[in-house]
């Protein structure tokens, strides 16, 4: 049976996002593929469920039986440390068992396709797959072919929904709201799934987004997602509530997309001097791992405006919420 969630009502809501969630709202999805397909109500439902899981993490017994007897399969076709550990710990706090697959030294090296790998692991009796993959759209492909729940833990340069959810959760926690805020995302926008998911989520919740970086790393077409573009970090410092600094991926140098680390750092790096030009309560974020002295100096990363470690803590609550919700969904 289809739930009553008319499309028209959803687009009206996008124009005027609710600040408080609908208490009667019921989560129905079995997959979390990206923030693109989520409604405002669905995003708020995840954030509010994560609030409850934060409380669980403060107990002496930090475990609930919600996913007892379920198996979460972690399929990491691409390297990751914190996202993987965060999902692993989230699953164990929900009393689920986990199995881990990493591409290195596995059957992928022997030529097995992604779908065959997933099907084989699913045949062992997995209820939820958490997938990190270098190819954009890999989780969507699997969601269409497997009855298992699929959670996207980062696909190519497409989406990284749980990272954006934990960023938005942290913003809401520190600044008390999301709607009406102005958020700058600085760095390699063109290749960043973190940037894409953040733009989608923040726009849906009524925040303004300005993306900042050198022209080679900021495609003009990104404005179609409803954000502004600036090529000068100094120009926008005074007007933003949040600065999310993306990690510079060194492999981009080989593609000649910017001349030198030192130059990038000088023009787009966040340091104490630049922080002084910001609002006193500006929130500094970074999805990690940070390159100290490149996109952000240690003084700023470890200073009072930074919430980098809070982001990591909140990531656990968000992933518990996502695993719990998709386990309850059926469509």
């Amino acid at each position: 049976m289809k739930p009553a969630r008319p499309k028209a009502a959803r687009s009206e809501k996008a124009a005027q996002p609710p600040t408080t969630p609908d208490a009667e709202f019921i989560w129905r999805r079995k997959d979390l593929l990206g923030l693109d397909e989520l409604s405002c109500d669905e995003i708020l439902h995840i954030l509010d469920t994560a609030e409850s899981f934060k409380e669980v993490s403060t107990r002496s017994i930090k475990k609930v039986p919600a996913l007892r007897g379920k198996v979460v399969g972690l399929l990491f076709f691409e390297d990751s440390t914190r996202t993987r550990m965060s999902f692993e710990l989230a699953a164990s706090r929900l009393s689920a068992d986990t199995v881990l697959f990493t591409a290195k030294g596995s059957s992928v090296a022997k030529g097995e396709t992604t779908l065959d790998t997933a099907r084989n692991i699913a045949a062992m009796g997995v209820d939820i797959f958490v997938i990190r993959h270098g190819q954009s759209g890999a989780p969507h492909m699997l969601a269409g072919k497997l009855p298992t729940s699929i959670v996207n833990a980062g696909d190519g340069s497409h989406e990284h929904p749980t990272q954006a959810l934990l960023d938005i959760f942290t913003i809401r926690q520190r600044l008390g709201r999301v709607q009406g805020l102005k958020v700058a995302i600085v760095g390699d926008i063109a290749h960043s799934r973190v940037a894409r998911s953040n733009i989608l989520g923040l726009r849906k919740l009524g925040a303004e987004v300005i993306v900042v970086g050198p022209p080679t790393l900021v495609p003009n077409a990104i404005t179609a997602m409803g954000c502004e573009i600036s090529h000068s970090l100094d120009d926008i410092l005074g007007e933003v509530d949040v600065i999310n600094m993306l990690r510079i991926q060194f492999e981009r140098f080989q593609a000649n997309q910017f001349p030198s680390l030192r130059e990038y750092s000088r023009i787009y790096g966040l340091n104490a001097e630049r922080l002084k030009k910001c609002r006193p309560d500006v929130l500094v974020m970074h999805p990690g791992p940070i390159n100290r002295g490149v996109e952000i100096t240690s003084q700023v990363a470890d200073g009072p405006n930074s919430c980098i470690l809070q982001q990591v803590t909140n990531g656990l609550a968000i992933r518990m919420a996502v695993l719990y919700l998709v386990s309850q969904g059926s469509e």
Binding site: P3, P21, A23, E24, F25, I26, W27, R28, H45, D48, T49, E51, S52, K54, E55, V56, R59, S60, I61, K63, V64, P65, A66, G69, K70, L94, Y324, L325, S327, Q328, G329, S330
Partner: protein
């Protein structure tokens, strides 16, 4: 939807529950009244308020349980309503705990609530108070204090409405789908 009890009879049931509970409070133990969300929370709050008025020297802790993550039907459900945070900001160890729920039927909510309490600590004694006992137990669980027993068919649903959540008071009987 048929009315089973009007507002004045809800009040009578609550008076009865309060009378029974206040006569059984332990003399030398910390006391906590903990409600199961949503309407158990409101009933628990009302009991605490009356105790505070009648016995101002008595310290009574107040807590709220959300049993959402502890339900035993999670793997059969389709869709997830919002689960809110459990609020127990006092030490449960060696406490006399009164667990409060609105309508008791199968006993499964109470089983889940007991599990939540034990994840927070080790209470000395747990007692159970329900405003309405409608019968139909599926687990070996019984209430220590009952506001009112009602006799209804097994396949019906009994719902309590309270001013704080529903804008009116009463107990209603609904046919199950």
């Amino acid at each position: 939807m048929k009315q089973l009890l009007a507002a004045d009879n809800v009040q009578k049931a609550l008076d009865e529950l309060y009378r029974a509970v206040s006569g059984q409070l332990p003399p030398n133990m910390p006391i906590a009244i903990v409600g199961i969300r949503t309407r158990g929370e409101i009933l628990a709050k009302r009991l605490v308020q009356r105790l505070n008025t009648d016995q101002p020297d008595l310290t009574v802790y107040f807590g709220v349980l959300d049993i959402g993550f502890y339900r035993d039907d999670l793997s059969r459900r389709r869709g997830a309503p919002l689960v809110r945070a459990t609020e127990i900001d006092f030490d449960l160890d060696e406490t006399w705990v009164l667990l409060v729920d609105d309508v008791m039927q199968t006993g499964r909510s109470v089983r889940a609530a007991l599990q939540v309490l034990h994840d927070f600590g080790r209470p000395k004694i747990i007692r159970l108070a329900v405003l309405i006992d409608r019968g139909g137990r599926e687990l070996p669980i019984a209430a220590d204090f009952v506001g009112k027993h009602v006799d209804v068919p097994d396949d019906s649903r009994v719902q309590l409405k309270l001013t704080e959540t529903d804008g009116q008071e009463g107990v209603y009987i609904l046919k199950k789908k």
